[in-house]
């Protein structure tokens, strides 16, 4: 009776499943998760819709007025009488607008770098875990060697090489892509390690044996059977990596090897701002730095919460 009754009720839709899941329930009852999720979403939306939200276009020289330079936040400018929420920099650029545009670059570089690291790390981790033997040894040794280099150093190295080989007129355009590859390359190892470990566990389960018995090939088993089952830890690392990638980008840009001044990221803004710190124009540094902090912290807390929520041992 119970069995047949169950099978005859309609299977719930995906949305119903999601709303009823333990995962969503835990989310609803975690203030940290809700706050950090909200902050992260607001910042991302702000970055995406920057051209619509930003009161000025900081990269349009026609809209800039040097007279507006060094306006204090929320105070009318002494010469023009214009008010800027977060003040302006030496060029008269609205800090609020530059932050919105800067986040676009920061987030784009961060997300793209993590995606790059994920694709590389997951593929190599899956292959290492599933194939085993020499293949595994070689891949994991490369990963070990990679880990001995500080990631900033790797990124700077790649950046330096790229700068040397690209013609000068393409350098600014290339900078963003080089950043992505540099950060991604220094980040793939942890994906590979986690995926390899999870693959070893999944490989020994009987559903993989069943798929082999059917006659499925190695790649098909890896992609169709194992991959979906190793993705939850990857999701956790991806979130935490995103925060780290955003910080790494900011660090590189701060050091002057990242985003060019024509396409300033949050890191570039901080670098520009620190020059004015001791002359009293604190807002040029303070607000971009706060934004970076809020972005990295919210994404990081979200990642931490995800790790707890998805870890069956902690439940």
């Amino acid at each position: 009776m119970t069995d047949t009754a169950q099978t005859q009720t309609k299977a719930p839709t995906r949305l119903q499943r999601w709303a009823d899941s333990d995962f969503f329930y835990q989310f609803k009852h975690s203030p940290v998760a809700i706050v950090s999720f909200t902050v992260a979403v607001l910042l991302v939306l702000g970055a995406i819709f920057a051209p619509l939200i930003a009161p000025y276009n900081p990269f349009d020289p026609a809209s800039l007025n040097l007279m507006n330079g060094f306006s204090k936040p929320m105070e009318p400018n002494a010469f023009t009488g214009d008010t800027f929420w977060l003040g302006t920099d030496d060029q008269g650029r609205d800090v609020f607008s530059t932050i919105l545009y800067g986040m676009r670059i920061s987030l784009f570089v961060g997300v793209a770098a993590v995606l790059f690291a994920m694709v590389l790390g997951i593929s190599l981790g899956l292959i290492a875990g599933y194939v085993g033997g020499w293949t595994e040894t070689i891949i994991m040794r490369i990963a070990d060697v990679q880990l001995t280099f500080p990631s900033i150093l790797v990124a700077m190295l790649i950046f330096g090489i790229a700068k040397g080989v690209t013609p000068i007129e393409y350098r600014d355009q290339m900078a963003i892509w080089v950043l992505i590859i540099a950060i991604g390359l220094s980040d793939w190892v942890q994906f590979a390690r986690v995926v390899r470990g999870a693959t070893l566990v999944e490989k020994s389960k009987e559903y993989v044996q069943a798929a082999r018995l059917i006659g499925r090939s190695g790649p098909a088993i890896m992609v169709k059977h194992i991959l979906p089952n190793v993705l939850s830890p990857v999701l956790v690392i991806a979130t935490i990596s995103l925060a780290l990638a955003i910080i790494a980008e900011a660090t590189l840009s701060f050091l002057g090897v990242g985003a060019p001044p024509t396409q300033p990221s949050l890191g570039t803004l901080i670098r520009i701002g620190q020059g004015f710190l001791f002359s009293g124009e604190w807002w040029i540094l303070f607000f971009p730095a706060c934004t970076l902090l809020a972005l990295a912290l919210s994404v990081n807390l979200l990642g931490d919460w995800l790790r707890d929520a998805l870890n069956p041992r902690l439940r």
Binding site: M1, T2, D3, T4, T7, Q8, A11, Y25, K205, E206, Y207, Q209, A210, A211, R212, L213, I214, G215, R216, S217, H225, P228, N229
Partner: protein, 569 residues
């Protein structure tokens, strides 16, 4: 008779966000000194929860909602943590199921024993050590003075469980709660451990609560028995009375489902207690089933001297490598249309043989012929695929044999898609039909594996195995992870497969009564070698090999069990 332990009207509730789960509802149970009280029921019946309630070990948010547990007339269920600690381990101790995880691998047996002895008895270091040796001797460990210095990994499974029992005896407890103490052990070791528990109960007048799902253990070991179903006690009495003349419908259905070694039944009685669906319709599958080509010789699978070695320690230098021979020159034949049983204890190589036949492992010597073709020599993927379509496997663990991220219909359809057997709508029709015939209904296809119970998952496994319409089915301990009533259902399905579809089967089990019910011929394996191959009837009536005789001797006798409902089945 005064009661050591008295549980009355005990209810344990677990509040969850989907309402309160009542794990135990108004259970009564008493234990007298020197008595072994069996607590039997299927998984989820609340047996272990009662054990945990007595020990005060119920995980929050679970709690005792009602009723009392009293020890020597004194209520203990309301005690605080410190009060429970004084009792737990000292007066009431526990033996857990898995001897691997209940000992600390980093401490010697002596460390663990003396720690417990010193915590409970007022003894000096020397006296405690002497007592540790004495206890090991008492639980039947040879050379106790030497072995006490060893670490848990140096003991075998059975020996380790003896150490766990010694640990439980350290404080000279009055009550021992044994939670499935032999489930993880082989039959031969199980018998020894149960004998030891019986002896201890008699000799020290210890009251034992023996929690188990195994009716054989209950019938052979306990004095009294309490049967639980979904948190409630359905029947309680002396073992003889409950097992021999059960009164409650549930107890009757449970006992009827136990496979007997002495009585072969055509079908297990259909259990309908509690409204569980048992309907399946394998005979309807037969209409669309192709009649398999008859093999020329009547022998479908011929296994000729196969060997499998595993690398234990790898090294570049061949002399340093350590190999382990899991299967050593095993030969046997499986005739067309028969069920061939492979029995043996854990580590005897039965599953390895099965995996070699299924081409999941490569052989290190020997040949396997399937319908005359040597499958160890198949080189190309096409050749192997053609063979693989004819052979399928049902695995032991229903919780790991289905991909948790795939929908059930995709799981069942995968073999059909891979071998390109059908196209378009015909695939869905095949899947729906299969799910329907194994008793799940076509609707089940839209769910995910975690929404099903163990028995239902095993049916999904069977549906997947049947999707390619194979000729040969390998069942690797298909029911050892299932409750006895669910086991009966799955075994009935397998019997039907053989009867209506003419499938040839290799049936692997460590459970002799099950083998008796299922198989036409049986091979007995021990330490990678085939000890004996014989017709089932002949093997049970007149075993030839010493090892087979020993296995049969240790098999639970189940003599006191009611045979109601079996004669006309």
């Amino acid at each position: 008779m005064t009661h050591l332990l008295n549980i009355s009207d005990l209810s344990v509730h677990y509040p969850t966000r989907r309402g309160t789960f009542i794990a135990v509802n108004g259970a009564d149970l008493t234990v007298a000194p020197g008595e072994i009280h069996g607590l039997v029921g299927e998984s989820g019946a609340g047996k272990s929860t009662i054990g945990a309630a007595v020990m005060g070990l119920i995980d929050p948010p679970g709690h005792i909602a009602d009723g009392t547990v009293s020890f020597r007339g004194e209520a203990i269920s309301g005690r605080d943590a410190a009060g429970m600690r004084a009792l737990r381990g000292a007066k009431i101790s526990m033996i857990f199921q898995d001897p691997l995880t209940s000992l600390n691998p980093l401490l010697t047996v002596e460390d663990q024993l003396t720690e417990t002895i010193e915590a409970h008895l007022n003894l000096g270091d020397k006296a405690a050590k002497a007592r540790a040796v004495e206890l090991l001797d008492r639980v039947g460990i040879p050379d106790p003075a030497e072995r006490v210095k060893q670490y848990p990994h140096q003991f075998s499974g059975g020996m380790r469980q003896r150490v766990v029992i010694a640990l439980a005896l350290c404080s000279e407890p009055d009550v021992i709660i044994a939670d499935e103490p032999t489930t993880a052990l082989d039959v031969s070791i199980q018998a020894q451990i149960l004998d030891l528990i019986k002896e201890l109960a008699r000799e020290r007048q210890v009251g034992v609560i023996l929690i188990t799902h195994d009716m054989g253990v209950i019938a052979d070991t306990t004095d009294r028995v309490t049967v639980m179903y979904q948190g409630e006690v359905v029947e309680s009495g002396t073992t003889e009375q409950v097992m021999g003349t059960p009164e409650h419908e549930y107890t009757k259905s449970l006992i009827a489902a136990v496979p007997r070694a002495t009585l072969k039944v055509h079908r297990f009685p259909q259990l309908s207690y509690g409204g569980r669906s048992t309907r399946f319709a394998i005979e309807d599958l037969a209409r669309n089933w192709p009649t398999p080509p008859k093999s020329k010789t009547g022998t479908l699978v011929q296994v000729d001297g196969i060997t499998k070695t595993f690398v234990q320690r790898d090294s570049i230098i061949p002399a340093w490598r350590k190999m382990f021979t899991a299967v050593d020159k095993v030969s046997f034949d499986i005739r067309e249309g028969e069920v061939f049983g492979l029995v043996g204890e854990s580590g005897s190589g039965k599953s390895t043989v099965a995996r070699m036949i299924a081409t999941l492992y490569e052989t290190n010597g020997g040949h396997i012929y399937f319908d005359g073709t040597d499958i160890t020599q198949l080189a190309s993927r096409e050749e192997r695929d053609a063979y693989r379509r004819q052979i399928q496997m049902i695995f032991q663990d229903p919780f790991s044999s289905l991909n948790p991220r795939m929908r059930v219909d995709a799981i069942v359809a995968e073999p059909v898609l891979h071998h390109k057997l059908l196209e378009g709508h015909a695939i869905q029709d095949r899947v729906d039909e299969l799910l329907d015939r194994v008793g799940l209904g076509a609707e089940a296809g839209r769910k995910y594996p975690h929404e099903f119970s163990g028995g239902q998952r095993q049916r999904i496994s069977i549906a997947r195995a049947l999707a390619t319409q194979p000729r040969f089915l390998i069942c690797d301990e298909p029911t050892s992870a299932l409750d006895v009533s669910i086991q009966a259902q799955v075994l009935n399905i397998l019997k039907d497969l053989q009867e209506h579809l003419g499938l040839t089967m290799l049936f692997i089990s460590h459970d002799l009564p099950v083998v008796r019910q299922m198989c036409d011929r049986v091979g007995v394996m021990r330490q990678g070698q085939m000890v004996e191959v014989a017709d089932t009837e002949q093997l049970f009536a007149a075993p030839q090999a010493d090892y087979t005789k020993e296995l049969l001797r240790l098999m639970p006798k189940l003599e006191g069990l009611s045979t109601e409902g079996l004669e006309n089945a």
